[in-house]
């Protein structure tokens, strides 16, 4: 065994490329975990810090926990309850807590929205920590966080305008809050209790009542006591639990992240597996004689396989460990990527759990070993004597018939599954398309070695024409081992194919959005919040009121959005004004009729969703709202229009009855007859003059915003897929380097016969160009087909148009080819530096 391992050590240098491929693939795994743990840790720490002053919090009971909601989506609590709670034995102190929308306006008249988040306004707490100044007192004093003050050049004594959901008011900055080390760096504004009630909430009502227990009394015990004393509509919970709930809700709202990232990691690992498999094939192929000799000396097949797998384990461990370390960098990079996407994630100190290393190493080693199994088996299967005597053939074929059968079978099964998805069979078309695509790809991988030779011949012909003999020799080399060429190209195909699919999807989504705007948008202007829309911010009601009073506008139609629960699962809905919405967004006749029938007691549902749940018009849909609990809403119609961006629609009246939220996601307006667009915009902007939290968009601007949203997603997704392309390019460099060392004698012969160094380099670059070109071309073909299937299966999601960005796709294939040639620079240089005499007398 020792002797066998020495063979492995000898290969150390050659395995470097493989280890690097493993490391790159594992980097994303480890980076994902580090990122997730860091974000998780930040949420947890922030919620643990949140306690402080109070032990318990009394609030009204909620029926459904909306996700990612920092403000309680609950009924307020009457202020009179504060005194009642304070009187309960064991309560040391109890006070009113009020939170609400309070948008700070900077000196330039712009809303201060750090990372698109609005300012959270709240009432002062007994434990408020100030960096300077004093706690706010009186009707026009405010304390803001020191970070915001610093960024916007505000100091104690400055005046600042604050925009509330109903009014605006100017305050004097009386205090600066210490940096709280918050999870999400939001801007904070604090008012005294009375002022807070006036500007943020409702007179006589508060959002929650924090309670401090008498010393020696546990929060849990006091909780039991208070809950016994209060009616059921109120609940006392420990501050710790509230913090945990909020952390959990945040974690849930970003829960898709690790899943999505691990998908990209899986792609990278798959690509890595190809490279590993390839490298090991070459390495054991080169050692075939050595292995055969060992066998004929009595080593068992199992021993030899084990020796190769030991090598794989060593490479896997080394690569994975490097990948784990690189994960720290990757986590940073991912944070930046998500920042670019508009997801601001908290990142205070990377959190590294042992689990990260364990999982990453296990995954890395498992992939390496699994990828090394086929070559190990193949190498040790050969008859010892045959190999010892055998002469290396010019071209190695591969068992064509079984390959053809297996590949065609897999491909056909995949195609069938994919087509059911595209043709609309089944409830989850995208899942069918995904599974089908996986099957098709697997079939393609199996079949690829069969077509690699003719494909390389065709792709290489321009090279032969323009590069002469070096191009010809490069093409011959690319064709000599179809399996090697195929798997190297396949690795590149995956990355290029996925980037291509994403490009097709993005182009199609943009075109669909543009078509929707053209076909459906009838509003003259669309108003949306400048920051992130949602539960805690949006177009404030006061703006809607002002717009309604603007004579230039004939119609003002408000759309709100919210979360609700169906059998414990979070759903979304839109709330509209049935009388005006279809005049702003034109939909098909059936959908319009459903909207027309909608009243405050009902809901209308997307036809496919109604079908899935087996609901018929007239049935009751049990909708659970956080504020009001479960309501039986009457199903008043079904719609099919893809212009509606959700599956459930209720009226604004029903919304106001069941939600505490007051902001609009979007306000659509139509101009009064005779008002020009320019005059209309001027009128709207005048109405919004004091409210810099809303932006006005005409059709072109709506489209630009939609495109911008797509692009913001496109960049990080492409960047993540580019990692796979990078691994594949590394594979090309590695394969070439190994091939060259395998053909040292040939290189020597060519040089002896008068091949110039430049010719030698261009021969190797030609081979690389053919392999990379094959990968790129196949990637584009794959992208065209899968892009078609994916887009066609997303009709109900609003992706109605199919667009092939041919220019981009061609550029992608070209880029892959060029990158492949660049990847060949080092191997080519290495080959050119071989000493002719040494090379020609080498033993291979």
């Amino acid at each position: 065994m020792k002797r066998l391992l020495r063979g492995a050590l000898h290969q150390g240098v050659r395995l470097f490329g493989t280890a690097l491929a493993v490391a790159l693939a594992v980097t994303l795994v480890s980076g994902t975990f580090i990122l997730t743990d860091t974000v998780d840790g930040a949420f947890r720490r922030a919620s643990a810090d949140a306690g402080g002053a109070s032990d318990l919090i009394i609030r009204s009971t909620a029926h459904f926990a909306a996700q990612g909601n920092s403000l309680p989506e609950r009924e307020p609590v009457p202020e009179s309850l504060v005194a009642r709670v304070a009187a309960i034995p064991g309560v040391k102190s109890a006070w009113a807590a009020i939170q609400g929308y309070a948008e700070l306006i900077d000196k330039q008249g712009k809303a201060i929205q750090a990372k698109g988040l609005p300012t959270v306004g709240s009432s002062v707490t007994p434990d408020v920590a100030l960096a300077s100044g004093r706690p706010p007192a009186g009707p026009d004093e405010i304390a803001i966080d020191i970070e915001t003050a610093r960024q916007h050049g505000l100091v104690l004594g400055d005046k600042i305008k604050v925009l509330f959901s109903g009014t605006t008011q100017e305050f004097t900055i009386g205090g600066l809050l210490q940096a709280a080390g918050d999870v999400v760096a939001s801007t904070k504004a604090i008012f005294d209790s009375v002022t807070a009630q006036r500007v943020l909430g409702v007179q006589g009502q508060v959002d929650a009542i924090p309670v401090k227990a008498e010393p020696g009394l546990s929060p849990e015990e006091l909780r039991t006591r208070i809950n016994a004393a209060l009616p059921d509509e109120y609940e006392a919970v420990t501050t710790k639990q509230v913090a945990a709930e909020s952390a959990e809700s945040w974690t849930k709202s970003v829960a898709f992240l690790p899943t999505a990232l691990l998908l990209f990691a899986a792609v990278a690992l798959l690509v890595g597996a190809f490279i590993i498999c390839n490298t090991f094939s070459i390495l054991v192929g080169q050692r075939a004689r050595e292995l055969a000799l060992l066998r004929s000396l009595g080593a068992s097949r199992a021993q030899l396989t084990a020796s190769v797998l030991c090598e794989a384990i060593a490479v896997g461990v080394v690569g994975s460990l490097a990948g784990v370390l690189a994960g720290f960098g990757a986590a940073r990079g991912l944070l930046a990527l998500f920042g670019a996407m508009g997801y601001e994630l908290p990142a205070t100190g990377a959190v590294f759990l042992p689990r990260t290393a364990v999982v990453a190493v296990i995954v890395g080693v498992a992939v390496t070993v699994l990828a090394a199994v086929p070559p190990a088996r193949r190498a040790t299967k050969a008859e010892p004597v045959g190999v010892l005597r055998g002469t290396a053939g010019a071209r190695t074929g591969s068992a064509a018939r079984p390959r053809l059968i297996v590949g065609t079978g897999l491909g056909a099964a995949g195609l069938a599954t994919l087509l059911t998805g595209v043709l609309g069979g089944g409830s989850r078309p995208i899942v069918a398309v995904g599974l089908g695509a996986a099957g098709l790809l697997a079939g393609l991988f199996v079949l690829l070695p069969l077509v690699a030779q003719p494909a390389a011949f065709l792709l290489g012909s321009p090279l032969v024409r323009f590069m002469g003999e070096p191009g010809f020799l490069g093409r011959e080399n690319a064709m000599r081992s179809p399996r090697r060429t195929a798997s190297t190209a396949a690795a590149l195909m995956i990355g290029i194919g996925l980037i291509g699919v994403v490009a097709i999807l993005a182009a199609s989504v943009k075109e669909s959005a543009s078509r929707t705007v053209d076909d459906s948008l009838r509003a003259d202007f669309v108003l949306t919040p400048t920051g992130l829309g949602g539960a805690v911010s949006g177009v404030p009601p006061v703006v809607v009121d002002r717009l309604r009073k603007t004579p230039a506008l004939a119609t003002v139609s408000e759309i709100r959005g919210g979360q609700w629960g169906l059998d414990g699962r979070t759903q979304t809905l839109l709330a509209v004004d049935p009388r005006t919405v279809t005049a702003m967004h034109e939909v098909d006749a059936g959908s319009a009729a459903a909207v027309a029938r909608l009243d405050d007691s009902g809901v209308i549902v997307r036809d496919t969703v109604a079908e899935r749940y087996g609901w018929a018009v007239g049935d009751k849909v049990p909708m659970t709202f956080a504020k009001t609990g479960t309501r039986q809403m009457k199903l008043q119609g079904v719609f099919s229009s893809t212009a509606v961006r959700t599956d459930f629609v209720i009226t604004l009246g029903a919304y106001k009855a069941n939600y505490a939220q007051i902001f609009a996601l979007e306000v659509d307006v139509a101009l009064a007859p005779g008002v020009t667009p320019a005059a209309g915009r001027a009128a709207i902007e005048e109405a919004l003059a004091d409210y810099p939290v809303v932006k006005v968009m005409d059709h072109a601007e709506v489209l630009a915003a939609a495109d911008d949203q797509v692009d913001r997603l496109l960049v990080p997704v492409t960047a993540l897929l580019a990692l796979s392309v990078l691994i594949a390019l590394l594979g090309i460099a590695n394969t070439l380097a190994l091939s060259i060392s395998e053909r040292t004698r040939e290189v020597g012969l060519l040089r002896a016969l008068g091949m110039a160094r430049t010719q030698l380099r261009s021969m190797i670059r030609s081979e690389a160009a053919i392999i990379a070109g094959l990968g790129g071309a196949l990637g584009v073909v794959v992208a065209l087909f899968f892009g078609w299937a994916l887009v066609r299966s997303m009709g109900t999601l609003g992706v109605t148009e199919l667009v092939f960005p041919f220019g981009q796709l061609a550029g992608l294939a070209l880029l892959a080819t060029v990158a492949g040639v660049l990847a060949a620079i080092l191997p080519a240089r290495k080959a050119a530096s071989l000493e002719v005499l040494k090379a020609i007398s080498s033993d291979r």
């Binding site: 002469t391 290396a392 053939g393 010019a394 071209r395 032969v464 024409r465 323009f466 590069m467 002469g468 003999e469 191009g471 010809f472 020799l473 011959e476 080399n477 064709m479 000599r480 004698r745 040939e746 012969l749 060519l750 040089r751 002896a752 016969l753 008068g754 091949m755 110039a756 160094r757 010719q759 002719v836 005499l837 020609i840």
Partner: protein
């Protein structure tokens, strides 16, 4: 095999000297040291030898006599420590790497002991490889003649793996001839062949000299092979120790015995 770009002009020396041929290649006081100053081995220790144009010369000598080193230095694959080597009127020591490469391509033909051919290329493609590297088209009549002389007409589209050892060496010989080099250097060309295949190859080389006026220098340790040559140069300990004209195998064997080879 029509791949003609970047055609470089062939090196200028004419292939055949019809008047006063003079030596095709010459080594003058050639010294080659291997290793450090202390542990150096004198592979060539002052070799003076001329190889006549249109003649077939064999170099014989015991192992370590420096015969392979001499051949490599003649080919510009290795460089001398001192002294000089010239091909025609070109002194190799003055050439740069790029010029040496071109010299090998245009003016020298090679036959190695084994692994002469690129496994991916057919016999025909292997034969024309040096010409293709130079971006030149083979002279079709000459190509046909060479192919017929070596008897490879039926094997032109086979790859090396499909050819016998003797056929592979004949492909190498055809390759060496087809570009009409000034000199063919052969390094134990029959070393891996049985006596019949070896005999065929040597007969062909003989014919190339007699029929086409080709110059050949062949390193061998086989007296039978050497007997095909016009002249044998004997090397021992890096020096030319003797030569023999119109050799026979028996005389060569006797002579080698004297050298202790």
């Amino acid at each position: 095999m029509a791949m003609l770009m970047r055609a470089e002009p062939p090196a200028t020396e004419p292939a055949l000297h019809l008047v006063d041929p003079g030596p095709a290649a010459k080594a003058t006081n050639a010294v080659k040291l291997y290793g450090d100053a202390d542990t150096s081995v004198r592979a060539l220790d002052g070799v003076d030898v001329e190889f006549q144009t249109g003649r077939f010369t064999a170099i014989m000598g015991p192992s370590g006599s420096g015969k392979s080193t001499l051949l490599h230095c003649l080919a510009g694959l290795d460089s001398l420590t001192s002294g000089s080597i010239s091909i025609g009127s070109t002194i190799l020591g003055t050439l740069r790497e790029r010029q040496l490469t071109r010299l090998r391509r245009d003016r020298i033909g090679f036959i190695f002991q084994a692994f002469n051919l690129l496994p991916t290329l057919t016999a025909a493609e292997n034969i024309t490889l040096p010409l293709a590297l130079a971006g030149r088209k083979p002279d079709q009549a000459w190509f046909d003649k060479v192919v017929d002389v070596v008897g490879l007409r039926q094997r032109l589209h086979h790859r090396p793996a499909e050819l016998s050892g003797g056929q592979q060496q004949r492909v190498a010989a055809a390759r060496a001839l087809v570009s009409r080099p000034e000199i063919i250097l052969a390094d134990e060309p029959t070393g891996n062949l049985d006596s019949k295949a070896g005999g065929e190859l040597l007969a062909f080389m003989r014919r190339a000299v007699d029929g086409f006026g080709q110059t050949i220098v062949m390193v061998t340790h086989d007296p039978v092979a050497a007997s095909y040559a016009d002249r044998i140069v004997f090397l021992a300990d890096g020096k030319v120790v003797d030569e023999m004209f119109e050799p026979t195998a028996e005389r060569a064997i006797d002579h080698m015995k004297q050298l202790g080879g």
